[in-house]
Amino acid sequence: MKRRRKLPGEVATIAAYGMVLAMGVVVFGFPLYWMVRGSLIDQAMWMRVPLVWAPPLRSLSLRAFASIFASPQFRMSRVLIMGLNVVFDCMAGFALSKMRMPGKRLVLAALLITMMVPFEGMMVPLYLTVTRIGLADTMLGIILPGAASAFSIILMWRFFNSVPDEMIEAAAVDGASWGQILFSVAMPAAAPAIATIAVFSFLAGWESFVWPMLITDPQSTFDVLQKVIANATYVSMGGTTETEWAYLMAAALISTLPVLALFLLFQRFFIAGLTAGSVKG
């Protein structure tokens, strides 16, 4: 097709559109630039007045990153949450969908109800419960409440429902145990759904802030990022804190990168999960 010459009015519209679009890019992108900039400069540069929008290259350093990566047990708890979630939720979803047992409907209804209680509402008793069973200030205490999710169980249940029963029966006739059926027949068939719940549980675990803070001692070393962010962000009336700001921004950047990579790679599953959620609502 031959390209038509654009009329002046059209050109103006396109230019205006482009400008608005570019403005949005600046508004949405700038805070991220500020985070990267902030993680690389030292405190003196932070406090420079008037402000230096683009600090010179030789004033940048990776000091803040080095000191954060030097700490042990970096962010294990958050990754474990995802692993446990995938296994437990698949098991439960599979059992609810394919195994014969009484009271299935009741269990599903109960799961739906638990999804409606907001976290703040049960924060206090959850704290009491977890403390009572002796898990305060342990890594298991951080992990446990996040290790299974009603939302994901229901998602898996729905997905396993669409896996044909014949497939399961054929495997059973061949003498496979339930465990073998789940791990080598049903789960491979459910790969997209598993990717969705993996992404979601990873995000939920990685981003949770209030719960880990509540259940662990503020000075414990289970989670360096958590500690840095919690210590340095509060706006005290004086305005400055002892922690160097670069550490805070480096911690923020480190905790963003895996999620960002995941998000850009798996946008498809991410959106699938969102729509699954909105159908429920």
């Binding site: 439960a92 990685w206 995941l262």
Partner: protein, 276 residues
């Protein structure tokens, strides 16, 4: 049994605590777990507790500004991004990056964006010839700063959902409307909006539920200050429980909030069902 691990975790960490919370809201329960039946005392007390009422006021104020602004901005962005040309994928990614930034990280970035002495926002205002604004440090501006940072994060999230919905709107419907002489605005109101009604509703409901429960930015940045100007209900419940040690009362405050959310959601459902 396959069900056991998943269900027992949910039972232990969701079902028991929620039931316990509801029960505790009718008791005087202190940090030391001395439980005493209180009946409706806690609920009556919060009705004339000035701090709790102020927290409810702040929360409602936040919701009233945040929810409509969020819808308008997300919709505008979704429409803006709903075109195809080379490079659009990259542009979209920039707009959606805040989705991948966790709440606390967004909060810590904006703590510096809004810094009164060294923040870029004030620097920009200064360059444009305005007075510097003491954002998070002032009673008048702290809530606005928090609203802006919440919008940055959630507009990206909700425009992602809206864009997904917009892309499902049939192209021939649009073309038919154009042939019939509908302008850009007419097409949006009569064709686009009705076809994405369900998702728009979901956005409204989800964002208002989230807004009522607003907690993290205040918890991390201002602890409700200055002078209680950013004290919200969820934060108040947290303070009552973990600083004040009045667990029973804290549970009552949470359940009052839950009640408000339920009523607001139902009202919203009714209102939009009638009008659209």
């Amino acid at each position: 049994m396959f069900l056991l691990p998943g269900l027992s975790i949910i039972f232990l960490c969701v079902a028991i605590p929620s039931a316990l919370a509801f029960g505790l809201s009718f008791t005087h329960c202190s940090r030391f777990l001395s439980i005493q039946w209180a009946g409706l005392y806690n609920y009556r007390r919060l009705l004339d507790d000035p701090v709790v009422l102020k927290a409810f006021g702040n929360t409602v104020r936040y919701v009233i500004v945040f929810v409509p602004a969020n819808l308008v901005i997300s919709m505008a962005i979704a429409l803006l991004l709903n075109r195809e040309f080379r490079g659009m994928k990259v542009v979209r990614s920039v707009y959606f990056v805040p989705v991948a930034v966790s709440g606390v990280v967004a909060i810590s970035i904006f703590r510096f964006m809004f810094d009164r002495n060294y923040g870029p926002i004030n620097a920009l205002l200064g360059t444009l010839g305005f007075e510097k604004v003491p954002w998070l440090w002032s009673e008048q501006w702290a809530m606005w700063a928090i609203i802006m940072l919440s919008l940055w994060k959630s507009a990206a999230f909700f425009s992602l959902i809206l864009l997904a919905a917009l892309q499902d709107v049939p192209k021939d419907l649009q073309q038919a409307a154009t042939v019939d002489g509908a302008g850009t605005v007419g097409r949006f109101v009569h064709v686009t909006l009705p076809s994405i009604r369900g998702v728009t509703m979901a956005v409204l409901v989800l964002s208002s539920i989230g807004a009522f429960r607003i907690f993290e930015p205040m918890f991390v940045l201002t602890k409700g200050g200055p002078n209680d100007s950013t004290q919200t209900v969820a934060l108040q419940a947290y303070d009552t429980a973990f600083t004040g040690g009045e667990l029973g009362y804290a549970c009552a405050v949470s359940f009052a909030l839950l009640g408000v959310i339920l009523v607001a959601t139902a009202a919203l459902n009714k209102l939009t069902a009638r009008h659209v």
